[in-house]
């Protein structure tokens, strides 16, 4: 990793950390309607690393804990935050919320509220790439618990049997809501599940930004070069609960502290200075740039109006002659 790459990786992780911290604060202040957002704090190295090697025309499919993936693929904080707050300036005009943010123009095909449901969709995007014969790749992010869903097995098997350019990213943060993955899955290592389908796979330390970065470079490069699927499991940890309302009664504060000591963001900032020789002034400039983007996003989202009620029935269908009666008529 070059110092420049390191700085880029740090910036990507910091954007996620700062954004998610702000979302958490807003939720606790009652400024975010609906279900408490599923936050990515602690897992930043994964999305930041994988995104680093993606091009604008590559596709991602995200999941319910998707803000990091979305930011990584280049989404703007302001429209993301507006969406999370249910405002008309949001990416989905307030129609989707935290679990359905996407900027499709950036190759983000959407987050998903159903665990494991995005995996076949990513395989379809990879099919489309293979069909068109381009050198794009598709990436699907999902958690440890999603590997227990049927869609995971169906989709990985289909991608393997058809030879499609898709990278499966397992973010093993150990818990499916409250249930530790060891209680629901006896497989020693989740990446072993990929072995069953005969595809390349690896398990790496998702708390180590450098290791994550190198693994992501190798994995994305492999998929792009070989036009074959690959699965990488990142061992990671969500520092907060499943959502803000989760009291985390199923794990100890000691366990949390152990993982927080390995936080990928702060540790990596220090290493950039000490090992990679990045000047403090440059790091501080990145810090300031991210703070400025966040401040702008907060202002934008606060000022963005709520969607007007007459928009509620928009976009159920693309308007065509076939659906003219259905639009607005409840047909």
């Amino acid at each position: 990793m070059s110092p420049e790459e390191g700085l880029g990786l740090y910036r990507a992780m910091l954007r996620i950390r700062r954004f998610e911290t702000a979302v958490n604060e807003l939720y606790l202040k009652g400024r975010i309607p609906g279900m408490s957002p599923h936050l990515y704090i602690g897992e930043e190295a994964v999305a930041a690393s994988v995104s680093f090697f993606l091009r604008a025309d590559d596709y991602i499919v995200s999941n319910h804990r998707g803000h990091g993936h979305c930011l990584g693929k280049g989404a703007a904080m302001d429209r993301m935050l507006a969406e999370i707050m249910g405002k008309s300036g949001g990416y989905c005009r307030g129609r989707g919320g935290s679990m359905h943010i996407a900027d499709v123009a950036l190759g983000n095909l959407g987050a998903n509220g159903i665990v494991g449901a995005g995996i076949p969709i990513a395989v379809g995007a990879a099919f489309s790439i293979a069909y068109r014969g381009t050198d794009q790749v598709a990436v699907c992010y999902f958690g440890d618990a999603a590997t227990n869903q049927g869609t995971f097995h169906e989709a990985v098997n289909m991608a393997a049997s058809m030879g499609l350019p898709v990278l499966f990213v397992v973010e093993n943060n150990q818990y499916g809501l409250s249930t530790h993955i060891k209680r629901t899955c006896p497989t020693e290592c989740l990446s072993d599940k990929a072995h069953a389908y005969g595809i390349e796979h690896a398990t790496v330390d998702g708390m180590d930004a450098e290791e994550s970065f190198l693994a992501a470079r190798q994995a994305v490069g492999y998929v792009r070069r070989e036009r074959k699927p690959c699965l990488v499991e990142f061992l990671t940890y969500r520092f907060l609960g499943h959502g803000a309302s989760d009291n985390r009664s199923y794990r100890t504060r000691e366990e949390e502290e152990q993982w927080k000591k390995r936080s990928p963001v702060e540790g990596f900032r220090a290493r950039l200075a000490s090992v990679y020789g990045v000047a403090e002034a440059r790091l501080a400039a990145v810090d300031a740039e991210v703070e400025a983007e966040l401040a702008g996003a907060l202002e934008f989202a606060e000022k963005s109006p709520e969607p007007s009620a007459d928009e509620a029935l928009r976009d159920i269908f693309t308007p065509t002659e076939a659906v003219r009666q259905a639009q607005g008529a409840g047909a």
Binding site: Y59, V61, G90, Y91, C92, R93, G94, R95, G96, H100, A102, D103, V104, A105, L109, G110, N112, G113, I114, A117, I119, P120, I121, A122, V123, G124, A125, A126, F127, S128, I129, Y131, R132, A138, G150, T151, E154, A155, N157, M158, S161, M162, R314, D315, I316, F317, T318, T320, E321, A322, V323, R324, Q325, A326, A329, A331
Partner: protein, 325 residues
């Protein structure tokens, strides 16, 4: 005009659309060299190759999900689910992903996806291979549900479905595959969302779709011959969204309504048709609207049992007589 079977008409539509647009492809179980469980795609593999006629694992969720991913990224997939009964396996992909993605993303995407499948009883396939589940899909916003009854409609509606930028569930009927009819030589696109009056009449409106259109037409002949009742048979063709205009206009003319369907009666298509007629043309009704449908029972295997529960011309005639005498 050329005479062909319903199966051939579906195949013709696929061939024509695949020839017209290289983005159209078929994906499903056994659709390739084998030609599909109902032999609908027979020959297309030889014509278009493995790239465009794609055999999959037996993984219905992955088939529909992959078709959705392809539709979102520039292709025009026609996914085949072998039996509509199997949609239970991939219901999440259909109702939570395909149907909702455009709305959830605030209109950022179009979903030009066709899911072809077939349903219906009458061949002794028992409870898990004979159902008519269209009402499920009509209930969910975001889906267009098309159910052709004739070869001509089968071809013209499928062509429109493939060109439609919204998701279409296109449900064929297994008993109709060998029925024959005239299909125009020239290209014909039949608009989605439009019912067709298959037999004009003045005394009673019978709505039906898919196989039951044929039963309704048979009943209408008996009613004319034996009872001097002229029934108007409205083929819904697209069951969601419903062509309310055509239905209401017919009932306003006849004053009577019988809704025929092969699906389970409770909360079925007929319930929706009747509800709308009652709400919007109540004053036109001269008698209570009735339904002829499958009772709320799993579909039995033995011929005698299956026949006992299926709608048929005799049951339709009886329903009409009940509200016309």
């Amino acid at each position: 005009m050329s005479r062909m079977s319903y199966r051939e008409a579906v195949r013709l539509a696929l061939r024509e659309e695949m020839t017209r647009d290289s983005r159209v492809f078929i994906i499903g179980e056994d659709v390739g060299k084998f030609g599909g469980a109902m032999a609908v795609t027979k020959g297309l593999f030889d014509e278009f190759g493995a790239r465009r006629v794609v055999d999959t694992p037996i993984s219905e969720s992955a088939i529909v999900g992959a078709a959705l991913g392809a539709a979102l990224t520039g292709l025009l997939p026609v996914a085949e689910i072998m039996f509509v009964d199997f949609s239970g396996v991939c219901m999440d992909q259909i109702i939570n992903q395909v149907a909702k993605v455009r709305y959830m993303l605030g209109g950022q995407v179009q979903v030009p996806l066709v899911i072809r499948t077939q349903g219906g009883a009458g061949k002794g396939y028992a409870a898990q291979h004979s159902q008519s589940l269209e009402a499920f899909f009509c209930h969910v916003p975001g889906l267009i549900v098309v159910m052709p009854s004739t070869p001509r409609d089968a071809r013209g509606l499928l062509k429109s479905a493939i060109r439609e930028p919204n998701p279409v569930l296109y449900i064929e009927h297994k008993v109709l595959y060998n029925t024959e009819g005239e299909v125009p030589e020239a290209e014909e696109l039949i608009p989605l969302g439009r019912a067709e009056i298959k037999r004009p009449g003045t005394d009673v409106t019978i709505t039906a779709h898919s196989m039951q259109v044929l039963k309704a037409l048979e009943a209408a002949e008996t009613l004319a011959k034996d009872h001097r009742i002229e029934a108007e048979v409205v083929d819904l063709r697209t069951v969601a969204p419903l062509d309310e205009e055509t239905i209401l206009a017919s009932v306003r003319k006849t004053g009577r309504l019988v809704c025929v369907e092969e699906g389970y009666q409770n909360n079925g298509v007929g319930a929706e048709v009747i509800s709308r007629v009652v709400a919007k043309a109540f004053d036109s009704l001269d008698a209570e609207p009735l339904r002829v449908a499958f009772p709320n029972s799993p579909i039995p295997f033995a011929k005698s049992l299956e026949n006992a529960l299926l709608p048929n011309p005799k049951k339709i005639v009886e329903a009409v007589l009940k509200i016309t005498r």
